[in-house]
Amino acid sequence: MASFQLNINNKKVTVDVAPDTPLLWVLRDELNLVGTKYGCGVAQCGACTVLINDRAVRSCTLPVSAVRDSKVVTIEGLSENGDHPVQQAWEEVDVPQCGYCQGGQILSAVALLKQKPKPTDEDIDAAMTNICRCGTYVRIRKAIHLASEKGGNG
């Protein structure tokens, strides 16, 4: 066990966990931020995506000891009132089915729009590698374009 100071959703928190604990389980089990999901544990599905310094990172394979003072944003911390342009677009397009993957999808989209405020379909193909088992891909693509129109890198 070791103590780690983290910056999660703009708050400083301290956790006492084994250094090899993936950030995913620190979020879910220690900090009760359960919006970050487990899907595979091997960096394949993206359900566990968080933003680290504005980049989409799969938290299931990132040991907490490697996080240091990076700025971690989870789906709970993306916006105060759930009204980030990407979240708005997701609601407007009515993307979710079961919804389980969508937190990760949204954060991946946010990271993409930070890099490329006006992404092409090819940019979306390349960046959006998260699995949606329910198959909401058509709507995800649509929502990203819509968020981009709304100025989604906000």
Binding site: A18, C98, V138
Partner: protein, 716 residues
């Protein structure tokens, strides 16, 4: 747990349908943490009602408070199929309220009040179409009666409009909220009149998923998110292969892992209870487990070899026989013969298997994902040896079902571990556990033969099919049954100790690929257009008068619609189309896929789908289901298979067990519903079966290569 601050006085019981706020909330809270969200929403929804004010709740489906706030119950489990939105829409339509102002909450599990609360067989909307609308209409009738009494006017002079009762001659108006007390005293009408579909304001419209806000902000909606005081995160070690059982284990290293609190065995599993998931994970890795063989260790290659033999044999008894297919084949000018193969796949819902269970003093509290809460409770009660009424079960939103949660193994396992460990647990399976611990979509093989006579007519059809633990891999009633005078279906079952079971659109998901491709083969051989050929077969079905299970005009309707939508017969240069049409769960779906294949690389540009599912309830949700079903069916046909090697799955996680990603999904899917006010039919599944064949037939059009084995990603 939330407690009420105000001490209410005794509720005013003005009628059988009256209930006080206190009692209502108590009932809601009884179901435990599972209802916390509903409870909080309700508490929020009914903020400042004096505790003794009367809520109008004529049945278990809806509550109206004196402020006019309407709370609707979603009775069936939500697994991503949209019923938490669609079923309350039925209530709201007939109740005649403003959808924007209703609060929707998941009903507690209560078979007495809500009947069959399951999710499967594309059946929730179908089975509640009458009852949910009736529940809303009853309330509307009682509100109208209450208003008429208040004004002392005949009921016939009153009508409703989005949350108000209006007296037509005088224009007087009362909000539903103002009528709760009086309405509660009105007799419950025996008979109700439903709205005319042309007056629908909610049914058939685009209504967003009611949980969208909670989903996009990461709220704890799912069973896997359950957190309780004193609960242990629990992982289980399960046998590494079918055919193996646990002989012994040594947990001495496990117990040294910081955070691990307990290790218990139940049957063939060893559970590690810890203060966090990671400790449980490491603890489980540190177990020394000894397994022994219990039954044969089967491999996929064995199944394939056995299938190949079976499909050469005539069955003792055909599943269907019209005329004499063997004779037609023997006398044919030409016989077309093809073998189609479909692999095992896993359900792999995005939310892994989990369950919260707390057994204590002869009672058990459960919260977790299940498509069959009634069965889950019964199975748990039986396993624990306690009466069913000692088991409570909360219904969370679920991260996908696809049939996986029709089994109750997760609930039973969690309950038994909780009992043995004497602790509340949140049991979670890792993805690897899920891949090895599923009951799978059975593999199958189909040998088709078609007889063509000298007039270039199709005169005979004979399929011999074999399925893994599936005695009816070829569905005897399926089209083109009834359209060919000599027609025979033979089925063989291959028994296996690898468990199989329903997977989204069971059996349909496999046989549709085989037969819709084979129809395309025949059309090509006869030099007929695949759409025209299907229509011609439907005409024959009309004249032959053999037994059929499909409605010819409806089938024709979707085929023609899909052809029209896709501009069938005209191709963009470099792109090719394929057609497929299939009937399942009482719903007709025709699909056209447009593809290109460049240097062996497939791109699916667009899919069109024409669907006849009767009355569409939620247009947005319905389209989402069909889009999802198309992507699900296409993804699995393209990339996915599960292989067994001596009882162990080879594809243990998503590196090798391949799902479709966004880049392969068709950028555009156009879905059109045939306008209809017939009772709704199934929708969660019927969009899936036709797509594999539509794409494979398009690949044939593009390349001349027939795909007869899935997944086809390895073939092109």
């Amino acid at each position: 747990m939330k407690t009420l601050t105000k001490q209410p006085t005794a509720p005013k019981q003005t009628g059988a349908s009256a209930i006080s706020r206190r009692n209502f909330l108590r009932v809601s809270a009884l179901t435990g943490g599972g209802m916390m969200l509903g409870f909080e929403m309700l508490a929020k929804a009914i903020p400042e009602v004096a505790a003794d004010e009367v809520l109008f709740t004529p049945n278990a489906y809806l509550v109206i408070d004196p402020k006019g706030i309407v709370t609707l119950m979603a009775p069936n489990p939500e697994i991503g199929q949209g019923v938490k939105t669609a079923l309350p829409m039925l209530l709201a339509e007939e109740l005649d309220v403003d959808w924007k102002k209703v609060v929707v909450t998941q009903a507690p599990f209560d078979a007495v009040k809500y009947g069959n609360q399951s999710a499967g067989g594309s059946g929730a909307v179908r089975s509640r179409w009458e009852s949910a609308r009736k529940a809303g209409a009853i309330a509307r009738h009682m509100l109208v009666a209450a208003a008429a009494q208040t004004w002392n006017v005949p009921v016939e002079e009153c009508y409703t409009e989005t949350g108000f009762v209006i007296h037509k001659p005088s224009g007087r108006k009362l909000n539903y909220g103002e009528l709760t007390e009086k309405a509660s005293a009105m007799p419950v009408p025996e008979k109700v009149t439903f709205k005319d579909p042309k007056d629908y304001k909610i049914i058939g419209k685009r209504i967003p998923n009611v949980d969208n806000k909670a989903i996009i902000t990461g709220k704890p909606l799912y069973g896997i998110d359950t957190r309780r005081e004193g609960m242990f995160f629990t992982l289980v070690a399960r046998p590494p292969a079918f055919g193996k059982k646990l002989k012994s284990y040594d947990d001495s290293e496990t117990l040294k892992v910081p955070g691990v609190k307990k290790v218990v065995r139940w049957d063939n599993v060893v559970a590690v209870l810890a203060t966090n998931t990671w400790a449980a994970w490491k603890g489980r890795d540190a177990l020394k487990l000894v397994y022994e063989d219990d039954s044969p260790l089967e491999s996929t290659a064995d199944h394939e070899a056995a299938f190949k033999k079976l499909i050469q044999h005539k069955a003792d008894k055909p599943a269907r026989e019209d005329g004499n297919a063997e004779q037609a084949l023997a006398g044919a000018k030409k016989v077309i013969e093809s073998v189609y193969e479909v692999p095992v796949v896993s359900h792999a819902p995005m939310e892994p298997i989990n369950f919260f269970a707390h057994y204590k003093d002869g009672s058990c509290e459960l919260y977790g994902p299940t498509q069959v809460p009634g069965r889950a409770r019964a199975d748990v009660a039986k396993a624990l040896g306690i009466p069913e009424d000692k088991v409570t079960l909360g219904l969370p939103r679920q991260g996908g079902g696809f049939g996986r949660k029709l089994r109750t193994d997760n609930a039973v396992e969690a309950a038994m571990i909780s009992k043995i460990a004497e602790a509340p647990i949140q049991m979670m399976w890792t993805r690897e556990d899920d891949m090895q611990g599923d009951f799978y979509r059975p593999s199958s093989m189909f040998r088709y033969r078609a007889a063509i006579d000298e007039n270039n007519e199709l005169t005979g059809w004979y399929v011999i099919a074999a399925g893994l633990n599936n005695g009816r891999p070829a569905i005897a009633e399926n089209f083109p049954a009834g359209s060919i005078s000599n027609f025979r279906v033979d089925n063989h079952n291959l028994s296996s100790n690898i468990p199989t079971g329903p997977w989204r659109a069971p059996t349909h998901n496999s046989v549709a690929f085989a037969e819709q491709c084979f129809i395309d083969e025949i059309a090509h051989e006869l030099k007929k257009d695949p759409v025209a050929f299907r229509l011609e077969l439907l005409e024959k079905a009309k004249s032959l008068g053999l037994k059929i299970n499909y409605n010819i005009p409806k089938f024709r309707g979707v085929i023609e619609k899909a052809a029209e939508m896709s501009n069938w017969g005209k191709n963009t240069p470099g792109r090719f189309k394929g057609f497929s049409a299939y009937f399942s769960f009482s719903t007709y779906v025709a699909e056209v896929a447009e593809v290109s294949v460049v240097n062996g690389k497939l791109k699916v540009h667009k899919v069109w789908a024409a669907v006849d599912c009767g009355q569409v309830v939620n247009l947005s949700g319905a389209e989402n289901q069909v889009e999802g079903a198309i992507i699900d069916g296409l993804g699995h046909a393209w990339h996915t298979k599960l292989t067994f090697d001596k009882g162990a799955v080879v594809e243990k996680n998503f590196q090798t067990y391949k799902f479709m990603r966004l880049q392969d999904a068709p950028p555009e899917i156009e879905v059109k519903f045939i306008e209809s006010h017939d009772s709704p039919t199934g929708l969660g599944e019927p969009g899936l079966p036709p797509i594999a064949a539509a794409v494979c037939n398009a690949i044939f059009a593009a390349t001349g290569k027939r795909i007869r084995k899935l997944p086809f990603g390895e073939e092109i």
